[in-house]
Symmetry: C2
Subunit: 213 residues, 2 copies
């Protein structure tokens, strides 16, 4: 039976959440979107990829700070919205892209508040992948070639940035159990194990739909 579900994946840096999403998409034979969202949003809007890359999963800095520093960026025209910080406009454009992709069929979307953006869509499963800091640092060194003495710091700081981005654009809390339908420790299960667990969850969920606890 082919899936009709849109899977969104939040993840700690170095947890392999991206790879879990990719493996899941391959197993189910559905599209996978992570950094791909940048190119698609750029194409959808006619804006440059560099703009989206620069703003990727970063919250607008506080208005007060930006005003004081004299670097409060205003872009107009992209969505016909003026007087809105650039990152917020880019977020709106990317949200539209995410909604369009989700409406086209089942897929896996990594990060970028996709769970929140798709909160009114029916068949969405929201997943969070995390792992202990030792496993994440090890993976960051091995896969992303982060220098050994900086690996832990890079993991923690990237998570902080992702949390800021998520908490700024949603009314939920990044990394809290209640924000997701399922959260998994990839250090305990591995990449393939996580993908298998998500597939098992979807089956149990569809079987239970409409019933009370």
């Amino acid at each position: 039976m082919s899936t009709q579900t849109v899977f969104t994946i939040g993840r700690q840096f170095g947890s392999g959440g991206r790879q879990v999403g990719k493996t899941l998409a391959q197993k189910l034979g559905i599209p996978f979107y992570d950094k791909e969202l940048i190119a698609i949003s750029a194409r959808d809007s006619g804006l440059s990829e560099a703009l989206f890359t620069n703003a990727d999963e970063k919250a607008t800095s506080s208005i007060f700070y930006s005003l004081v520093m004299g670097n409060y960026p205003m872009a107009s025209g992209a969505l016909g919205v003026t007087e809105m910080p650039l990152n917020d406009q880019l977020f709106l454009i990317q949200s539209k892209t995410i909604k369009r992709l989700a409406s086209e069929g089942p897929c896996v979307i990594v990060g970028r508040c996709a769970d929140y953006i798709l909160r009114d869509v029916d068949q969405v499963l929201n997943i969070f992948i995390h792992a202990d800091i030792a496993s994440r640092s090890e993976r960051a060194i091995r896969v992303y070639e982060v220098p050994e003495n900086k690996a832990e710091d890079v993991c923690l700081k990237t998570d902080k940035q992702r949390a800021n981005f998520y908490n700024y654009y949603s009314d939920r809390k990044w990394g809290m159990c209640r924000t997701y339908d399922l959260s998994l420790d990839s250090g305990k299960l591995g990449i393939d194990g996580c993908a298998e667990q998500i597939i098992a969850y979807e089956k149990l969920w569809l079987a239970h739909k409409g019933q009370v606890i």
Copy 2:
């Protein structure tokens, strides 16, 4: 194959976490401890059950507050420790009981910081069960006979108390994904679905043990 794992279950009030634990224990044929811990701790220590019931999953109130209010309770003798708030002494006694039970073989333990207490034990799986507030309120009314107009409030306040208790006695955060190996939405899976998902997790975990992400 029979399990050798100790399962600990944290849970939002009304999520059916207790029932998930009970179902899991039945499926695996292993002991289940929730309120049972009170009677066992009382028997282990020779103190009254009423003392443990009163302190159950409640943190010691702040020392400053207690001193100001003149109700800083000091009990001595129970563990040979003096000058320690009563709830803290009871927590230590219950911790000893939890460690003993876990050392005797696989089992399911609900709440009471068991995951933190057993942090140095090898084969432990820590699970958190949550659900949307509507499902939890509905369950609180149906199962615990909470008045309809108070159900949501009781859910939220009990969770606050559990979080305070957990955060006070551990160095982890209650309800955060990273605190647990697995967190599940019982509103999405149902009681039996959660138990099935935990059993599947254990299998994948044992198959992956010792490997990197």
